[in-house]
Amino acid sequence: MNRPLREIFFFAGAIGFALLWTAVSVRLPGPADLRDRYSLAILARTFPERNITDTVSAVNFDYRGFDTVGEEFILFASVLGSMVLLRQAEEKNAKPLPDAITPGRDVGPSDAMRLWILAMVGVKIAFGIYIVDHGQLSPGGGFQGGVILASAALIIYLGHNFDTFKRIMTHPLVEIAEAAGAAGFVIVGMIAWFWHQPFLTNTLPMGKSNEMTSGGTIPIISASVGIEVAGGFVLLLFAFLQETLTVEEEH
């Protein structure tokens, strides 16, 4: 199908889409009508039932926890796919390309940047763990905190500490963390089966509000999701960076 034909089809579809969209938008209720009973019910129930102050985390990991399991496994599968696709290439080209990660190679950044990176790595890891743990009390949770934790590994690469970076990346704990996080979610859901409840029911003691132990299974699920997202993004970084690390020596 050549290009002008594609564009004609696209514009025909776009005009139909626009007409239907306009026909639907004039019939939608306005924002102040507040007919959405599901969200009103959740807002009314989150604090009394679960002692949680961040409603969005409660919806993500408790009330709609099953959808989050699906999304987490989408992430897992995408990381797995990227690793498989990009790792095959590394074995083929390993012969002609010299290894760039040698200690003698030092055209790195200035000392000021290295000092700043050294200071920021600790702060980033602490901040990431804070966001993951306090997901049920203030904005945060597993997904955000996991990405922040993964970015701590990224700035080690930016500081040209290739030895440290390679040691972090090839450590088996990263892969174990990703798999354990994904499995942890499912296992916590299976805990509910001991009390003859459906999968992912919140059956652990709720605790007091505004403390980290409030919400039953929610902080545990949030922590396992954080570990999984952090491990997944570090592995993704490694899959992309592996070949650039070995090719740099040539130029």
Binding site: S82, L85, F240
Partner: protein
């Protein structure tokens, strides 16, 4: 003001439709595979705009209960936010997977033009 709130809803829906169509136009007429993946990002952004407009409640605070916002009071829709939160992180990994596929296609055929890919070979 009821008029202004409706104006925001209609503008938001219009922006969502516009971005969806523009992103699709970019995908249809793309000449570089990485450009195609980034236009997919624009289509994803249009769904975020749509969900935001659906969950919009004028003048209400975020659904985080603190000393200032009493537990159980009215707030912005939390279900829509929960949908978007996981969506943002997961779609980034899907774009990473698409970029990995792009790299493999370039290695296989030597070009990044979508029209030059002849997949159905025996």
């Amino acid at each position: 003001m009821p008029g202004m709130n409706h104006l925001i809803t209609y503008t938001g829906l219009g922006v969502a439709a516009w971005m969806f169509l523009v992103g699709l136009y970019g995908i249809v007429t793309s000449r570089h595979l990485v450009h195609l993946c980034l236009c997919l990002t624009v289509v994803q952004a249009s769904t975020y705009v749509l969900l935001t407009v659906i969950g919009y409640r004028p003048g209400l605070p975020a659904p985080i209960f603190t000393d200032w916002v009493q537990a159980g009071s009215l707030a912005v829709d939390p279900v829509v936010q929960a949908l978007m939160l996981t969506d943002v992180v997961v779609e980034a990994t899907v774009v990473a997977l698409l970029l990995a596929i792009t790299v493999k296609i370039h290695k296989r055929t030597g070009s990044t033009d979508p029209a030059a890919i002849n997949v159905m070979r025996g």
